[in-house]
Symmetry: C2
Subunit: 278 residues, 2 copies
């Protein structure tokens, strides 16, 4: 297929590498000429340009810009597309994007390939980034069966595992497993920092793998954390409220010295956790 | 030195291996004869017995039983010791143990070598377990300088890093970096499990490294989790209350759409976290 990729960063670049190696023809679009040159040099795209006119006969466009720019990018590319073109995106939140973009373009299908690294930019692009990862698509009632099948085929070309669900269910699920953990973990670091200097210094010296793992996502990219909260605000607030209730229950068990009940909670957790590990 | 180790599990066994290889004479005590045989076979102890009488001329006794048995073990061994013998323990909580045991034996000095594996028992004992790890000692006002120096020398023989602090400050610091993370992480798994089956299943499928790391210690050994809460209850409740306040602040920022303030919190976290990683 002829596939346009708009935004050639880590995700866009990595998609280009893998899809091109699977025989697709890749049209890369970037705001910067130097990025287009890199895309051609690295084998990420067959043709690359800063102009949307190259998109005129692509079958699928994958919008790989930051989440805040997705809707405006869709608006800008629409005048250049054939009416049958499928537009999809790679944003980590789906409901607000799908709400807006499916009104702009009836063949818009939200997408979320769930892979990444700590790096960003085209130089961080790598082959096989999506191997074994989930790739979620969130069709609407208007989505054509064959359009969804074509996107699923792309996910399979990436050796990713396609999942199909409602945009709101996606946002709820990723809040639980990705956005809530960031806030839970961030609150842990934030609380520690309010300790007195002597105890804080000892705590820093004594911290090992338990603290390292529990604090990891709370000490990550601040812009990404704010984006999650901003675009998935409703679902994140919902899961935070439920988390807070459960934290209170744990506090109450410890306060009331209900050791058997606490052990039962930890027992159930220990049995449940492996189902989250793939 | 002639050193007694009472309780030959993962920690006691590993201490024996390293201290014996450093030229110390190790007397191993276990409730079970088969464990004594293993200790001799594995080179963990020079002599091993189920009877405390072997301890009559040791200079230091390291009590390596589970936390709940430390005080009663100290009581049982006292009649067999020379009055100058130093007793120390390896419990992960110090204040309640030091309170009790220093009244039983004036040469009692609390200790906490901060290393371990997911395994337990003498067969899990391994050389160099304590290399690079913190080894905390919590002397009291009555502690003799030279006794503390001898314990510090043992920590150095293990290639561990000795820290000296007040028992309560120790318990406060480990609550922040070890016990609080367990409860924070446990509450995360607990909250997820209350989601509807459809969303829970999707969340399980989509979960990756962020959830894996943040949930790790909350899905760990239930008995250990209860022990922490039981023996470090006051400090854990204190840090849980402070954590809850900070969680509420984060919730309020998201509710109020204070994105700059949220970014500042995450920025500060990102800068602070490396100080906890050794």
């Amino acid at each position: 297929m002829k596939i346009g990729i708009v935004g050639l960063g880590l995700i866009g670049g990595s998609l280009g590498l893998d899809l091109r190696s699977q025989g697709h023809q890749i049209i890369g679009i970037s705001r910067q000429d130097v990025t287009c040159q890199t895309a051609l040099k690295q084998g990420i795209a067959d043709r690359a340009s800063t102009k949307f006119t190259l998109l005129q006969d692509v079958e699928i466009v994958i919008v790989c810009t930051p989440i805040a720019a997705i809707a405006s990018t869709v608006k800008q590319i629409i005048p250049h597309l054939h009416p049958d073109t499928i537009i999809t995106d790679v944003g980590s939140v789906k409901y607000p994007i799908v709400e807006t973009c499916s009104q702009l373009w009836s063949n818009f299908i939200g997408g979320h390939p769930m892979a990444g690294t700590a790096q960003s930019g085209i130089d961080a692009a790598q082959a096989n980034l999506f191997e074994g990862a989930a790739y979620v698509f969130t069709p609407t009632e208007k989505t054509k069966f064959e359009d969804l099948e074509r996107l699923k085929a792309i996910a399979l070309d990436l050796n990713a595992i396609p999942y199909i669900c409602d945009a709101q269910i996606h946002d709820r699920a990723v809040s639980w497993i990705s956005h809530l953990p960031v806030m839970v973990s961030a609150s842990l670091i934030k609380a520690c920092l309010q300790e007195t200097p002597e105890t804080l210094e000892l705590a820093q010296n004594l911290a090992s793998s338990g603290f390292r793992d529990t604090s990891r996502v709370g000490g990550g990219n601040p812009e990404l954390g704010v984006m999650m909260a901003k675009y998935n605000r409703a679902e994140l607030l919902r899961s935070l409220a439920q988390y807070r209730d459960n934290l209170d229950q744990v506090i109450n068990l410890i306060e009331g010295e209900k050791w058997q009940d606490l052990e039962q909670v930890l027992d159930i957790n220990g049995e449940a956790r492996p189902k989250f590990l793939n």
